[in-house]
């Protein structure tokens, strides 16, 4: 059984969001804007769901994606210096409350990205699709859904591969950018192995009793001068 990856389809309303809101941004040129719209509508390019994990999630690799929250979608196209991506965040409509918050979710084009980071993401996807080099992507046969693992506190950008057919139920993670020393990129890791690399950063944050924020110790700031309570 061969190995293949599948891009999900954007939820209803999301392609229209790209089409309607790209004009807020000047990062994309006309050709890139047209390409992003085509990609959002299912054409050439990629559409990946963004799932976010907190540092504490890295301490429980067996439930990495189960504990992750879906925070939006990324649409991307191109390669090298022409690679570009648009992130669509799912916003709460109205006041964010109501009887059925799910029905009030609204997509909004939050940011546009280009540069080596997005080029690396596109290169990683291409390498996975080609299974090249095979020793880096020794994945079991079957079909995998691909998405983006968002873990900003862990300073690592990665793709997740979740099996939807085949015998394996293992989640695979392919990091493509990090500041963690001695963390080889562009290869598939099992979730537990991935967490081994990012766990020291999670542990670093965990030992802090409070976040290190300048506003808490700025004597001349509003908080410092009035004695108002510190932010959370």
């Amino acid at each position: 059984m061969g190995f293949q990856i599948r891009f999900l389809t954007l939820p209803d309303g999301y392609p229209a969001t790209v089409k309607d809101q790209w004009s807020f941004f000047e990062t994309a040129n006309a050709a890139q804007q047209a390409g992003l719209i085509r990609a959002a509508e299912g054409g050439e390019g990629v559409r990946i769901e963004i799932r976010s994990i907190s540092p504490s999630h890295a301490l429980d690799p067996g439930r990495l994606l189960q504990t992750a929250t879906t925070s939006g979608w990324r649409v991307a196209m191109g390669s090298g210096s022409s690679a570009i991506a648009a992130d669509i965040y799912t916003m709460q409509g109205g006041d964010g409350g109501g009887a059925d918050p799910e029905s009030q979710k609204l997509p909004q084009l939050a940011c546009m990205r280009k540069g080596p980071n997005i080029a690396a993401m596109m290169r990683a996807i291409a390498m996975i699709q080609k299974n090249d080099p095979p020793e880096s992507f020794d994945l079991p046969g079957g079909s995998f859904v691909i998405g983006l693992l968002n873990s900003p506190e862990l300073f690592t950008d990665a793709l997740w591969l979740q099996p939807e057919t085949g015998d394996s139920k293992d989640l695979w993670i392919v990091p493509y950018h990090t500041v963690i020393s001695n963390f080889p990129l562009m290869r598939a890791y099992r979730a537990a192995d991935f967490c081994t690399y990012v766990r020291p950063i999670a542990d670093k944050w965990k030992i802090l009793e409070k976040p290190m924020l300048s506003v808490k110790r700025a004597k001349g700031s509003r908080q410092g001068s009035t004695g108002a309570p510190s932010p959370p």
């Binding site: 004009s23 807020f24 941004f25 000047e26 990062t27 963004i50 976010s52 907190s54 540092p55 504490s56 929250t69 879906t70 925070s71 939006g72 965040y89 799912t90 709460q92 964010g96 979710k105 909004q108 084009l109 939050a110 940011c111 546009m112 990205r113 280009k114 540069g115 080596p116 980071n117 997005i118 968002n150 900003p152 506190e153 300073f155 950018h177 500041v179 963690i180 020393s181 950063i201 999670a202 670093k204 944050w205 965990k206 802090l208 009793e209 409070k210 976040p211 290190m212 924020l213 300048s214 506003v215 700025a218 004597k219 001349g220 700031s221 509003r222 908080q223 410092g224 932010p231 959370p232």
Partner: protein, 190 residues
């Protein structure tokens, strides 16, 4: 009004928790001439803050100093902190004022540093090198991403969900919230 921006060299942070030092060094180095030999290394910023003994300092054994701090402390030791971090100035107008070229005693616009709170007590620091007041977007220089990766954000999304969007979080959300902007002044002598 068109985009307002300042030149910025966004070197990648050298250690996992040195975003604060990287932003401070990047702000300093961006104010120098391209061929200047006075560039500051991130480890030198860390050393200036922690005052470690020579020989066991951040440039010699960086792993021993892989700790978080704040960008305003880094700017302070570089002589570039302009006032204190301020959470009452989280506006487009503030960014326009700081980034705008002024032909007086402040001959060029300056970048602005932003302090971000994430989950599990994690914090992060970035610089804003540009703003488009018409479209209400900002251009963010993140030392985690490094050079050539300027991200254009809708301003409100930048304030509320930088780097991570928690679907249940509304301001004052915890994750990805910009807490303060820090003004920068030109360093003496560069």
């Amino acid at each position: 009004m068109a985009k307002i921006c300042v030149p910025f060299m966004n070197d990648k942070q050298k250690k996992e928790l040195w975003c604060w030092a990287a932003v401070a060094a990047n702000v300093y180095n961006s104010a120098l001439q391209l061929d200047s030999t006075a560039k500051k290394e991130q480890c030198a910023v860390v050393q200036a803050v922690v005052q470690a003994a020579v020989g066991s300092d951040p440039c010699t054994v960086p792993d021993n100093f892989n700790d978080t701090d704040t960008a305003d402390e880094g700017l302070n030791v570089l002589g570039m902190r302009d006032g204190r971090p301020d959470d009452s100035s989280l506006t487009i107008d503030f960014l326009v004022g700081e980034l705008t070229f002024v032909n007086t005693s402040d001959p060029e616009g300056e970048p602005v540093c932003a302090e971000i709170l994430w989950d599990d007590n994690a914090t992060h620091f970035v610089a804003v090198s540009g703003v488009n007041p018409t479209n209400k977007t900002v251009f963010v220089e993140d030392p985690y991403l490094g050079p050539g990766n300027t991200v254009e954000y809708r301003f409100q999304q930048f304030l509320d969900h930088y780097g991570a969007k928690d679907p249940k979080s509304l301001r004052p959300a915890r994750r990805g919230t910009v807490k303060t902007f820090q003004k920068v002044k030109r360093a003496p002598g560069p």
